[in-house]
């Protein structure tokens, strides 16, 4: 049974047509959330989607800053995807930056060195995956603000890093999924999020309901899908707006007020 039935989010991103290749190839998807509502479930959803695809050429490189492997393993297992098995089979590469990045905190690496080292590791992983004939690799970056903390607050280094990743991936048709916190960038640090939003091809904003906390609706989601060049029909219906309800085994998406 194909469990990848598409929902509103998949349709908004463009996953709805299974005959076409993934709409994220060569593109950057940015998820933005805030303190009140975490956007991590979007990452879980897309991660599951990337890994449970039947194409053997799919692979994921996960750069985790905010949670450990144990957490993701447990969450994804409930979604029906065994990360440990995927990791052993070489389709899933996990960089635990939460513990790893901190252990060499006292070491000799400079702020820039951390990101340069990380980029080298990504590049090595990418090259290894290409040799294994993985043609579509998704790089997931969990929490860009924590990437800044790892770089000791130098926005320029973070931007350089993201540009490098973007170039690396757009050259060979990989995709990047990144999680960012919108409310962190309010005044002086605007440039980073603006540049990120400019780079992004698909922008997903997660936020709480404007009417307050509810038990049966966990928040709302705005998907902005920038048109692919040359496809005029994609110009319409670019912004999708809907609500979501998160469960252990998946997320329900529905239009405001349309939930049974």
């Amino acid at each position: 049974m194909d469990r990848l039935t598409s929902n509103l989010l998949d349709e908004a991103i463009g996953f709805d047509d299974p005959t076409k290749p993934s709409p994220l190839i060569g593109r950057l998807l940015l998820v933005e959330d805030c303190v009140e509502t975490s956007g991590a479930f979007v990452l879980h959803h897309l991660l599951k989607r990337a890994l449970s695809s039947r194409h053997a050429s799919n692979a994921v490189i996960f750069i985790a800053f905010s949670q450990s492997f144990v957490h993701y393993d447990r969450v994804l297992r409930k979604l029906g995807c065994n990360l440990a098995a995927q990791r052993d089979s070489g389709r899933f590469v996990f960089f635990d930056m939460l513990t790893l990045g901190c252990s060499d905190r006292s070491g000799k690496e400079t702020d820039e060195g951390v990101l340069v080292g990380l980029y080298c590791k990504i590049q090595r992983a990418v090259n290894a995956l290409i040799q294994e004939n993985k043609r579509h690799v998704t790089i997931v970056i969990d929490d860009i603000p924590l990437l800044e903390v790892a770089a000791n607050g130098s926005i320029n280094h973070v931007l350089d890093f993201l540009h490098y990743c973007h170039t690396l991936t757009s050259e060979i048709g990989f995709s990047i999924i990144a999680l960012n916190h919108e409310d962190v960038y309010m005044d002086i640090e605007r440039p980073l999020i603006l540049q990120m939003e400019y780079l992004a091809d698909v922008l997903i904003k997660v936020g709480p309901l404007a009417t307050g906390i509810a038990k049966d609706v966990h928040g709302q989601l705005t998907v902005l899908n920038k048109p692919v060049e040359g496809l005029q029909d994609k110009l319409r219906n670019r912004v999708h707006n809907f609500h979501f309800y998160i469960k252990e085994n998946g997320t329900e998406f529905f239009y405001s007020g349309s939930r049974a």
């Binding site: 303190v35 009140e36 509502t37 975490s38 991590a40 479930f41 879980h44 450990s68 144990v70 957490h71 447990r74 969450v75 409930k78 939460l98 513990t99 990045g101 901190c102 905190r105 006292s106 929490d143 603000p145 924590l146 903390v149 790892a150 000791n152 607050g153 916190h181 409310d183 962190v184 960038y185 309010m186 005044d187 002086i188 640090e189 404007a210 009417t211 307050g212 906390i213 509810a214 038990k215 966990h218 998160i246 469960k247 252990e248 997320t251």
Partner: protein
């Protein structure tokens, strides 16, 4: 569905009866987590069990009131009662002096129907002596299990000095250290005593850090240093059986930095004092006279799960029952300037008329 409201599911009873065979002070929760108590029975209920081991709890202080100390004191006292190792860091010169103000467990249990505590104490003593002769063991079992996980603390009765002698308590002053590396190293050595191995958990550590980023400390202007300290603290906690409660004054940080702190937290709370003679608020809320402050729940830890825990309310009043015991209660009417609603444009409608405040969204 059941996972979103574990309090009403039939599993909660099993947990409370099962943990009696385990180490006191630990309770198994859903998704392979283990809870320790916050020291306030009501807060444990609000957070669906307590603080999960390995989590970072941030408390946003009211810069002008010491309400965060109430949470810290109860958190630390609960650890002492359970014989759990404790690390306390504060910007004061003599952090050990703070231990003298920790409340000791009260003799009366959280039972609102009884109002005379001395009478109840007598009754309890009899119940203890003749417990085996009484058929009514249901209540005593209830009290016993309560005693194990979470106590009521009598804020007017401090712990005796000799009580600390056998306990594992470390105190650090962060006032004079020019960087956070000393505190980081202390936390690292402290947490190495309670490592996480997937088998049984023998003990849980508690770290209480008061007013990190307080302006009198040298490190208070090193924003990124503090953030990376928090990040490495979180990563160390994840690999050990401990909980860290860190309080900080958000108004003294840049707004964007404060948001970064809030994103780091697994559980995020804030406390606020209420103005003394606010007639409008007094009219709006029932039981205004007994309140000492307000507690907001912004985030409840989501460890090993993607489902957010939605508390029944986000704002609770902090009250002192019989001037001794800390209790948290839902507000009967929402305050006008509820901070959870302040970021939305729609609050204008609610605050326009006080009648709509009672509507449940």
């Amino acid at each position: 569905m059941a996972a979103t409201k574990p309090r009403t599911s039939s599993f909660s009873r099993n947990f409370s009866s099962a943990h009696s065979s385990k180490t006191p002070g630990l309770k198994h929760g859903p998704n392979g987590t283990t809870f320790i108590s916050s020291g306030i029975p009501d807060l444990d209920k609000i957070l669906c069990g307590g603080f999960p081991l390995g989590s970072l709890v941030l408390v946003m202080e009211d810069a002008e009131a010491p309400h965060h100390m109430l949470l810290l004191r109860n958190f630390m006292s609960q650890g002492l009662v359970h014989n759990q190792p404790l690390l306390y860091a504060s910007p004061s010169r003599d952090p050990r002096g703070f231990l003298g103000t920790l409340p000791s467990p009260g003799t009366s249990k959280d039972d609102k129907s009884r109002d005379n505590s001395t009478e109840q104490e007598k009754g309890l003593r009899i119940a203890w002596q003749y417990k085996k002769y009484f058929g009514d063991d249901q209540e005593s079992a209830n009290i016993d299990s309560k005693y194990e996980f979470c106590n009521d603390f009598d804020l007017r009765r401090p712990f005796d000095r000799h009580f600390f002698s056998g306990k594992h308590v470390e105190c650090v002053s962060i006032l004079d250290s020019s960087s956070l590396s000393t505190l980081h190293d202390r936390c690292a050595t402290f947490l190495s005593q309670v490592p996480r191995n997937d088998g049984n958990i023998s003990s849980a550590g508690r770290i209480a850090i008061q007013s990190l980023s307080a302006p009198q400390c040298d490190h208070s202007n090193m924003e990124w240093e503090m953030l990376s300290f928090l990040r490495s603290l979180k990563s160390m906690l994840r690999s050990s059986n401990a909980v860290a409660v860190v309080t900080f004054p958000p108004s003294l940080l840049l707004p964007s930095i404060s948001k970064r702190w809030q994103h780091m937290a697994d559980t995020l709370l804030s406390v606020r004092a209420i103005p003394d003679e606010d007639k409008e608020l007094a009219k709006l809320l029932t039981g205004y006279q007994d309140m000492v402050g307000l507690l907001n729940v912004h985030k409840v830890a989501q460890i090993n799960t993607q489902v957010p825990k939605i508390p029944e309310a986000t704002t609770f009043s902090i009250k002192l029952q019989k001037r001794r015991y800390l209790v948290l209660e839902c507000l009967n009417q929402a305050p006008i300037d509820g901070s959870s609603g302040s970021s939305y444009g729609s609050t204008g409608n609610c605050s326009g008329s006080s009648k709509t405040g009672s509507l449940e969204f």
